[in-house]
């Protein structure tokens, strides 16, 4: 395969994953049908399978693609903020925006609910990404203790749980109170930070 063909193949693969993301946002990763995806991508089913060996391979690619976008839009910009509370706040507000920008649900958070009872490679990948995100949050919380912005006896594991809970809460509350969910999450974040301040 020459370089141009490789680049074309990569672009097609990317396009398929993006379409698959759109379907998985609405119907979940388990609801991702290759037939529907092929139609959305304007391809044949075998054309889709030429790029992904199996449905599971495609599901894993959608998870990784989601995590890359999350890194680029949430963690990346936040990590350019000064260490301490500015960075931790930036992670959370960008993450709230991420939830808002995915009105049918974040594929990874959706998969967390979808795969809790389904052992296997997809579940393992979801767990892997969530643990990665948690590690980044724990690190950001620890830096707030180092800068003296959060109290010295702060437990970063507990705060990471509390912050993730706000994301999960926003994600779910949006279903039954879409008009107020975002504002409630922002107020809950402010409340949490004041209760933790040094």
């Amino acid at each position: 395969m020459n370089l141009t063909a490789t680049a074309k193949g990569a672009a097609t693969r990317e396009m398929i994953v993006e379409r698959a993301y759109g379907i998985a946002s609405r119907y979940g990763l388990e609801g991702l049908s290759i037939g529907e995806l092929a139609a959305a991508a304007g391809m044949s089913k075998s054309g889709v399978f030429a790029h992904f060996g199996s449905r599971e391979d495609l599901q894993l690619s959608v998870l990784d693609w989601t995590a890359e976008r999350y890194a680029a839009t949430v963690m990346g910009p936040a990590l350019r903020q000064p260490r301490g509370l500015p960075r931790l706040r930036a992670i959370m507000t960008s993450w709230f925006e991420w939830v808002r920008a995915n009105p049918d649900g974040c594929v990874i958070l959706g998969a967390a609910a979808e795969y809790d009872g389904r052992p296997g490679a997809v579940r393992d990948r979801v767990v892997g990404w969530l643990l990665e995100w948690r590690k980044a949050v724990i690190r950001a919380v620890s830096l707030c203790v180092e800068t003296g912005e959060l109290a010295a006896d702060t437990d970063p594991d507990l705060v990471a749980f509390q912050l993730f809970a706000l994301i999960d809460g926003l994600h779910n509350t949006r279903l039954y109170d879409p008009d107020n969910a975002h504002a409630l999450a922002c107020r809950a974040l402010d409340h949490l930070f004041s209760s933790l301040s040094a």
Copy 2:
């Protein structure tokens, strides 16, 4: 149909819903296949359909059955506690136990993630139950303000968001940190209550 036949029909229907709940806990309400359910219930597919007009009818019945069990095991006992913080704490600790007792995920919370991108009767029913639960929590929080146990400027809507977030957080954190999720949720609850105390 005579009375005995009616009672037998109701018992069979109940048994089918219970089996369906087990399947939906693991695979989601969308993953509920009538074939698999019939096999689990030791019936034919048409036997299942004799009790439920459609798959959607069955899905709605599973949601209502879940909500009845939730009422009986979480809200019911909690409402027998004295109004104020004892009652609110009882709601939350029983709810944490409910999450623990459903290791493959609460069907209603799972459906919240599953149906956020799927409009229709199932989504509407999920929203209906979640709003019902939220109303009960808001009422319990308001009583804590009346008893003077929570600060007079407490916003019950915000506290309900914060409490639901802890449930959602426990539900999701259990996936990637099953050994610590419950203890973290209990500590986060204590932290929240102290930050709100009058």
